[in-house]
């Protein structure tokens, strides 16, 4: 049945377009001069402050630290403030390193154990990129197993290297695309801008409806150790 449907739909599209071309002529080709509109570049030196400002605007926290040692302290503080005694950790190397420094916090690291993840108060991941324009984290599934760790717990802590903060949405779409870093597009690329939110009841903003209620981003400035 689907084969018939496919053939018929494609035939119907072809017939409709043929009749349009006959009566109205070929549509003009895309005007290349419009393609670069609205893409202000953001200089490397301005990216961190813009990124941070946008994160604050959407109600996410942002801590900038010098190195991995300080990042571990920041993670510990964030977990303590949230009263989280357990944290689910992704499989990124940086996350494993940080996890070793979280004394007194139980780790959930079996990423196939869905029940444990559903029950966990916090999740720790890295982000592959940041976008300064919008205060967005880019999570690329081929680089890290973090789809669920970043989504199920009410607190998401994300660690990001400063050098990975890109300027604009265009820059981000370029690096995750088929001719960017990856030879093939990743299974799931998730852009995260702030906590989960809804205004479905009387237009009142409530955070943490299905995803995390709180997003804390920790930006690490030092290059080599992160």
């Amino acid at each position: 049945m689907s084969e018939d449907a496919k053939r018929e739909i494609l035939a119907s599209i072809a017939a409709a377009l043929a009749s349009s071309r006959e009566l109205e002529g070929d549509p003009p080709p895309l005007d290349p001069s419009t393609s670069r509109c609205a893409v202000p570049t953001i200089a490397a030196t301005e990216r961190l402050s813009r990124f941070r400002g946008m994160l604050e605007r959407v109600g996410a926290g942002c801590t900038v630290v010098a190195n991995l040692e300080d990042a571990a302290t920041a993670v510990r503080d964030t977990l303590r403030e949230a009263g989280a005694e357990k944290v689910a950790v992704s499989n990124a190397d940086v996350v494993s390193e940080l996890a070793q420094r979280l004394e007194g916090v139980a780790l959930v690291d079996d990423l196939g154990d869905r029940a444990a993840l559903l029950d966990c108060p916090a999740g720790l991941t890295t982000a592959q990129f940041g976008i300064a324009e919008t205060g967005t984290l880019v999570l690329v599934s081929s680089a890290e197993t973090h789809r669920l760790v970043s989504l199920l717990p009410p607190l998401h802590v994300a660690v990001l290297r400063e050098s990975r903060i890109l300027g604009t949405l265009d820059d981000a779409l370029k690096v995750v695309g088929p001719d960017g870093d990856a030879t093939e597009i990743s299974r799931a690329i998730t852009f995260v801008t702030g906590p989960s939110r809804t205004a479905d009841i009387e237009l009142t903003l409530v955070v943490g409806v299905h995803g995390p209620k709180h997003l804390q981003v920790i930006v690490v400035r030092e290059e080599d150790s992160a």
Binding site: S19, P27, L30, A38, A188, T190, R197, T198, G211
Partner: protein, 471 residues
Amino acid sequence: MNEMRPDTFDENAKAALQDEVLRGALTKATGLFGERRTAAVEEVPDWEPLRERARQVKEEVLAHLDEYLPRFVMNAERQGIVVHWARDAKEACQVVVDLATARGVKTVVKSKSMTTEEIHLNAALEREAVEPVETDLGEWIIQLAGETPSHIIVPAIHKTKRQVAELFTEKIGIPATDDEKELTRCARDVLRARFAEADMGISGANFAIAETGSILLLENEGNIRLTTSLPRFHLAVLGIEKIIPTLADLAAFLRLLPRSGTGQHLTSYQSILSGPRRDGDTEGPEEVHVLLLDNGRSRMLRERVTRQSLACIRCGACLNACPVYQQVGGHAYGSVYPGPIGAIITPQLSGLHKAAQLPYASSLCGACRQVCPVKIDIPELLLHLRHRIASGEGLPGSDVPGRPLLERFGFKLWAWAMRGPRRYRIANRLLRWLAPLRVGPVRAWTAARDLRPPAKRTFRDAWRDGIEDPS
């Protein structure tokens, strides 16, 4: 609630105008979104070129859909996505039901999708004992209440917090509260359990990318991320018009859509999804399928004027800007697609005869055209559809006549009569004679209009005799 249909817009609208709660909520929502949109748009200096770009990209795809759609399909299949096709709503539901029952699916978690509402998928699943659970908070409230959405961004805008609380107490047994945080938390808990047990997730898609075979979904709540990552089987249902050429083209739409819809610079989440998990992956669905729906879309490609309807990215801005919608709300349109966009899309999808009142549900003020992020000339389309209805031509490629036969006879008579004074006299006599009977063309015409009783003398007679009316 009575079922509202697009062919009874006038009565639906009257009922809506008497609903004070609805009108208050609508004023608040449309006003708020309108203001937020204006503020968000002002932040973007290149807004106009951006709209122009987005429109051109859409027009490019639609005018060459015969190339872009197969390209999307080829790349999606290369990524391991299984692609299905459906000519109409019935066929689409059958495909989904077959997929679900073949896998023994009992519970489906759904994220908000107008396309699945268009095909009435939930009813089809329920008939086969598959339970669909809407997971967008507003949609879930509506589903619990057994109602239909009144706004495309905030589906339950017509419900007060108290009504939601009473509904939750009745349906899920929570203690009465009128704190929206508490209500939201309860919804999260109940729905988490449903997510955990569901074997299948059904979503729509905002865009489908030809270059990579990916689909893109935008949201704020996180329920779409759950729907597309927790269950072992994910199906996305989308209209054939959702294609855009490349990943890079997304940037313009990501800047336009959230600002136009909710006034956000970006929604909380965008998911670009490109197939099932691979060997060694511990997460992501094992199967990813896409269902491509025509249901009247391909014939809209025939003319530039109707084709532009398919450029719509469902942002909702035209609803918020529309003075008619602001007063009557979404239910009155009797269709999944309300407001100005509904007034042009519904008649084209379901047939002019089923929604002939909708193109008239507008004052042609042009506010919709001004806010539309993809520059759809909605007033032009409304006039076009009115013309097609009035002339009785219907739409090309559609076998559906514009109006019932007898009313078309009325328009034909009118056209014939206007060609000369003698003809006009004859037609006039005929109508004056028919009017009291309220049959045929007269009845069809008066079904939605008040016909002034004919004057005792015709204007022509009065003119001939000197103008004073003896009565």
